[in-house]
Subunit: 207 residues, 2 copies
DNA sequence: GTCTATAGAGTGATAGAC
DNA sequence: GTCTATCACTCTATAGAC
């Protein structure tokens, strides 16, 4: 039961990724499922509900993935490394869904838009807290936490736009490169273990 | 003369940025210009021609901007710094056009798609040569040149998706943060001036 | 749960007057 | 160079049979 409902979601993910949400028609999705377009409306109220279902599920899974990867990790730098790796791996492993989630927000209704953006903001704030903790502990150079978090998140998200599953590098290899690149960017020449000198200054950057 | 042709482009940039290419109608553009939709076709053959005009112009200006910023700069690291700054500044200063150029490629006809992607590839290869030169000179740590170039480019491109001109930070400040972040990522703890040890290995990464 | 049929609105594009 | 009028088509969504 509910099998067709899942099939519709799966076909829609393929089409939204390939052609975009607005360029994809209900009849195109129906054809991919082997049913008539009217039958779609038995499972979903309208086209936007399909998009929302994809986004909701993806954002929920993204947060769950991060939580799972961080349980038991206590060291500040290790936590940020784990968060970056979790983010990259999830985005490459669920390339289509995450690409849709980050590029088709304009297709959502006002209420659904707010729901998804709220989830995204929570996720962002979590990363910002990790960065602040790292600066406070002296692992990372002081810097603008908001901009740094955007840089890290969009860097990984963008990976989902160019990643080729049949390509030269594995997800693991790409995640490793990103992890090292980002950690170096956060340290900015700081040698490790030295306590932070400007722990007071960075707080204002979130105001 | 040709004033309306420019107005159409300008209105289309606003609408494509705000609603997306497929969600924007010819009549919407016409309304923004204060004319009837049929009049649009006197200036452009069809909707796609408007999108292509925006992209062509933007890519041409992007390359010209980079060339201008690099003339006279000879030091390898200074050249990469200048290239990163040029890229960030152009993307934030022309936020709408660069966002369209990077997100609406699917709206182009096959021939136009190839033309724009060719320009983008040339631009990418130029950055990859800068990175390779830096690794060869020992300024940067050896690494996967393609992935590093994608990381740098998409990082800056993504800036155009969240940048708020009325926001807290100036373009100059953001460019500075990105510049430092990226250069640290490229150096990866290498101290400066030391000649590269693995200059032979990185070449294979472009094969 | 899927079908046929269709309503109702909007779209890109063209013809031809001015 | 802009207009009015319209064509031909596609789209989302609904009604009601099976």
């Amino acid at each position: 039961m509910a099998r067709m409902k899942e099939t519709i979601l799966s076909v829609a993910i393929d089409l939204f990724f390939e052609k975009g949400y607005f360029a994809t028609s209900i009849s195109g999705i129906a054809a991919g499922c082997g049913i008539q377009k009217a039958s779609i409306y038995y499972h979903y109220a309208n086209k936007e509900a399909i998009l929302f279902a994809i986004m909701e599920r993806t954002m929920q899974a993204l947060v769950a993935h991060l939580e799972q990867r961080l349980t038991g990790v206590t060291d500040v730098e290790a936590r940020l490394r784990a968060a970056v790796r979790s983010h990259v791996e999830f985005h490459l492993r669920h390339q289509k869904e995450t690409f849709i989630a980050s590029s088709e927000l304009r297709g959502l209704s006002d209420a659904h838009y707010r729901a998804i953006v709220a989830r995204r903001d929570t996720y962002e704030q979590f990363l910002q807290e990790l960065i602040m903790a790292g600066i406070g502990a002296g692992c990372f150079a002081a810097g603008d936490v908001k901009i740094l978090s955007y840089a890290i998140l969009t860097l990984c998200t963008a990976g989902a736009s160019w990643y080729n599953p049949a390509g030269r590098l594995s997800i693991d290899a790409i995640a490793g490169i990103y992890e090292d690149f980002i950690l170096s960017g956060l340290k900015q020449g700081l040698s490790e273990g030295r306590p932070g000198t400007s722990a007071a200054g960075y707080m204002t950057h979130l105001a």
